[in-house]
Assembly symmetry: C2
Homo-oligomer: 164 residues x 2
């Protein structure tokens, strides 16, 4: 059923706030995919996926972390990491050894092959740097803005409707 005010519903002053192009979340979503596409051919040479590469980045900073420790660094849980780490182990980049003093924990350690890959990572870093088209300063500024955004989103009070 029509009336003469049909059109008004979607003429909000600023165009349509629900347009994909106006959504910050979609911009982030798209860039995340774009990074993935850019990394893929570089990481394929080593048989790595991007999340696997992130785990190696974490281990190059601090070797011998537990699964939980890696999860905290990357924001991933054991549901993601357990199978991922098994694949890294099968590929020979890390070892998984249960902590003798606390058998609940599994210590992830870089193998020599895993350590050796760090050298190649600088090449990847360079390629990605070029691909972004950002200067160091631009990249730093963008990173900073994203860190702030991340902090805000994570501080977001969880859904209160279910909290007694």
């Amino acid at each position: 059923m029509n009336n003469d005010s049909d059109k008004r519903k979607d003429d909000l002053k600023d165009g349509d706030a629900l347009a994909l192009g106006q959504q910050l979340c979609f911009a982030v979503y798209s860039v995340a995919h774009a990074f993935n596409r850019t990394y893929k051919p570089l990481l394929d040479k080593f048989g790595l996926t991007y999340p696997q590469y992130l785990v190696l980045l974490a281990l190059w900073q601090k070797d011998k972390m537990t699964v939980k420790g890696i999860g905290e660094e990357l924001g991933l849980d054991s549901g993601t990491l357990s199978p991922l780490l098994k694949r890294l182990e099968t590929a020979g980049f890390v070892s998984r050894i249960r902590d003798k003093s606390d058998e609940r924990q599994v210590i992830i350690t870089l193998t020599p092959k895993g350590v050796g890959l760090k050298t190649d990572a600088f090449g990847i870093l360079m390629e990605i740097g070029k691909a972004t088209g950002c200067s160091m300063e631009e990249a730093a500024a963008l990173r900073s803005a994203l860190h702030d955004l991340n902090r805000h989103l994570d501080e977001n009070p969880q859904d209160q409707s279910l909290v007694r």
Copy 2:
């Protein structure tokens, strides 16, 4: 303090360029996950996932798109969209009808239920806006920077190392 030669082993000029915190890609990756976590409780109320919500956003802008058309809007292929759209159909948000004039194409159309959800989407938009902690201007600036980055990454010449 220690002997000044101690720290030389890993001082590649600017600290460690491979640190997770210094990687723009990881900042983007983390924010994408953070957005997902923020959206989840809001979308759960409607039984939607975030990618499904993106499809609806696209259809609210332009209804009756083909699978390919939606894929171009969102940067997704049929491997992702075919099952996703079936779930949206099963949930009653869209219909999938093969184009009579070109039976290769499937036209995705919003059902009344799918159209009706647009009203609720404004509420979600508001919640997300609050959660970002960004002003309109900050969000617009960040979006713009991300669009530039996206463009650069997608323009990145494909791996030339295999091309002779």
